[in-house]
Symmetry: C2
Subunit: 153 residues, 2 copies
């Protein structure tokens, strides 16, 4: 690893949060966490990953892979509206919480991860909703226009 990559690896925060949720709150907790994780990855440049998982055999055991660009990015994340909302609304749902800091073995390879995720239809660009014409579009006219509309006009 060259010096630049090494410095990056040292700055970056990699963590697995080990969380146990009270079973009666699990569904509600999942919905709130999903919203928080999505917003963090989408809105915060320094949040590289917040990837929540649940043990198949014991779904109240949550593991979240978290990666932040550096301490500054992490401290800034803790002050965001979406994080504070998550933290305050789920506090009573959490039975135990352990933040386990990790060293990644190989961040060079990590950049390729998830590039191979199956294409997901939800990532198609979404056009804006159709805008119906108002009354102003139907003024009287003494002309008729004919346009060739091939290739979508």
């Amino acid at each position: 690893m060259d010096n630049i990559a090494h410095a990056q690896q040292q700055e970056m925060i990699v963590r697995i949060s080990e969380i146990e949720i009270h079973p009666e709150h699990l569904d509600e907790y999942k919905a709130i966490l999903k919203e928080e994780a999505e917003a963090s990855v989408r809105l915060e440049e320094g949040v590289i990953a917040i990837f929540p998982m649940f043990q198949k055999d014991n779904p109240t055991q949550v593991r979240i892979l978290e990666m932040y660009k550096d301490q500054v990015a992490y401290q800034s994340h803790l002050k965001t509206e979406h994080f504070l909302k998550y933290k305050t609304t789920t506090l009573h749902m959490v039975k135990s919480l352990k933040l386990v800091d990790m060293d990644a073995l190989d961040l060079d390879t990590a950049v390729q991860i998830f590039n191979k995720m199956p294409a997901n239809k939800k990532y198609q660009a979404t056009p804006p909703a159709p805008k119906p014409f108002g009354a102003e579009a139907f003024q009287k006219s003494d002309k008729t226009f004919i346009r060739w509309m091939a290739n979508g006009g």
Copy 2:
């Protein structure tokens, strides 16, 4: 989530392997695992992620996030040369091994993970090594050529 994404999520294997390594073998184990993880992600289309991490406070505790496209991809991975080499050469280094199958909360968001990894110099294209001229390049000539070599000739 639409039906296609749902089917993908159900097929995909997401796992955190929890491995403890005998401390006297840790460095050697890391080197072998790094090689195996890199080869798997690079060579196998169905290996979406093999992302090894070590607990900072207890580095013999290894956690590997593994993601395979489906059972077929996983079974094929188990038969590759690089996996078999890893498995046989590290068997005596492993104190304990637990494969914990996980459900991802939100694979839609996961596809964006790691896209934000800092650019890494190691991913620059590498030119081939310089090729010195052999004796054949220095034949006698009765002419002198002058060429303008601007813009690299």
